[in-house]
């Protein structure tokens, strides 16, 4: 079906948006853009792990509310987020089909469909996961996709991420677009020759050849890139400079995140409050 090509193309468009929109400096109410990427990385990691550890519905609900506040203050286009939400929640929907029916410890049956018993504990667990998954998703996307990816990578470097890993991220995010464009041109040319992706030997062979060709061309391109880098004095490090400083916005934002974390943990430990 050609639906496949269209879907692939769709991803391509999203990508360009994803890489371009963060560069546009929108004024944000909390001026989150003023915070240093290092602060945002640390905040995202702390918040995400705290939320992952929550086990009560009340604290997880609160976490989701906080994450929505963070998202709104970051002023990310909501429609863009909703598209991703669908993908993230596909697995959650799958769990909703499984968990309510498969709670093994004797639970309180609240409904039954033939032999299937729906337990309140199963429903609670599914709800808990849904709240936590979405709370983490919103926070991470709001905090870490705020600026271009290289900024996050460089911030990671200044926080002690291995230099080689940061170089890998910088180069592969740079060349991903080149390779993806190459993929799209090859795919376009295949369509021009009547290619139709269906469940057949011909399709598997063609897609594998396409994949192989991308590998071969990227291998040669890497070789050219390396030579061009050497020609400009590459010595194994990209020396990308970053100029991060801890500003007033960072102080305020850090305090806010610490406060949020404490509130969440209090709700977790004393669920009756």
């Amino acid at each position: 079906m050609c639906g496949n090509c269209v879907q692939d193309d769709g991803v391509g468009v999203d990508l360009q948006e994803a890489s371009e929109t963060p560069n546009a400096k929108r004024p944000s109410s909390l001026r989150m853009i003023d915070t240093c990427p290092r602060t945002r990385i640390l905040a995202a990691i702390i918040f995400a792990f705290v939320v992952a550890s929550l086990s009560s519905i009340s604290s997880a609900s609160l976490a989701l509310i906080f994450s929505l506040i963070i998202t709104l203050s970051s002023q990310k286009p909501i429609i863009e987020l909703v598209k991703r939400l669908l993908v993230v929640n596909a697995f959650i929907i799958f769990l909703w089909f499984m968990l309510p029916f498969s709670f093994s410890t004797p639970g309180t049956v609240i409904a039954s469909l033939g032999p299937l018993k729906v337990t309140s504990q199963g429903v609670t667990l599914a709800a808990l996961i849904t709240l936590k998954a979405n709370a983490i998703f919103f926070t991470v996307v709001a905090l870490l996709t705020q600026g271009p990816l290289y900024e996050i990578a460089l911030a990671g470097k200044s926080l002690g991420a291995p230099k080689k890993l940061v170089n890998l991220i910088l180069l592969s995010s740079r060349y991903f677009h080149v390779i993806f464009a190459e993929y799209q041109r090859l795919r376009l040319a295949m369509r021009a020759r009547g290619f139709n992706s269906n469940f057949s030997r011909h399709t598997f062979l063609s897609l594998s050849n396409l994949m192989g060709m991308l590998l071969v061309r990227s291998w040669d391109r890497a070789d050219r890139i390396h030579k061009a880098m050497l020609a400009r004095g590459y010595d194994g490090d990209l020396h990308a400079s970053s100029n991060f400083h801890f500003s007033q916005a960072d102080v305020l934002f850090s305090l806010a995140i610490i406060l949020v974390t404490i509130i969440l943990l209090v709700f977790e430990w004393f669920p009756t409050i």
């Binding site: 496949n4 879907q7 991803v11 999203d14 994803a18 995202a44 990691i45 792990f49 992952a52 991703r84 993230v88 769990l95 499984m98 968990l99 093994s104 410890t105 667990l125 996961i129 849904t130 936590k132 998954a133 979405n134 983490i136 991470v140 996307v141 990816l149 291995p162 080689k164 890993l165 890998l168 991220i169 180069l171 592969s172 995010s173 991903f176 080149v178 390779i179 993806f180 992706s197 269906n198 469940f199 399709t203 598997f204 897609l207 594998s208 050849n209 396409l210 994949m211 192989g212 060709m213 991308l214 590998l215 071969v216 990227s218 291998w219 391109r221 890497a222 390396h226 880098m229 194994g236």
Partner: protein, 214 residues
Amino acid sequence: MHIFDGVLSVPVLVTGGVLAGAGVAIGLSKIKSDMTPQASLLAAVFFTASLIHVPIGPSSTHLILNGLIGLLMGWVAFPIILVGLILQALLFQFGGITVLGVNTFNVAAPAVLMGFLFRPMVIGDDAVKSSIGAAASGFLSVLLTALLVCISLYLSNTENFNIAAQAIFLGHIPVMIIEGIVTLLVVRFLKKVKPEILQISATNLHKPVLNKTN
């Protein structure tokens, strides 16, 4: 085939993070500075592959190709897969920060194992053995990844993720077959068009850990 945030328990997340960290450290130590562009571009290609829809009957799946990554890159599979997941989390804005470690380990560990088990067979001259090795890498790497995903779920909530884990494993059987076929066909393509890729990546990036530290 990766797990989203909010599903796994904290001990599982931390264990996954530690194991993946060790794998990534070994992988990075194998990348000499002159191989950084190669490794980066392969990471980008494999990330592109993960966007290609491959039909399964009336439905479709995304390629993982961790078997192929393992065959080509050995331990470097760890950093490559980590980079792919970071691109997915941030460039594609799908999130997945707490599970970065677990997902990296679940996909990369089988990849490295495939490299050790089947690389000699695959880069050898015997066409039949090479094909069998490639197909086995594709099939088994996805099988092991599916198994690790199930184990991650099972360890997080033993009683209640049981059935979901089984369903996930069964659901991935067609993916294993597809990955076996595609890995076989891509290896054949590489052998025909540019055999150096298999050879070079094997010699430059694939020396066992002991050789280097001794």
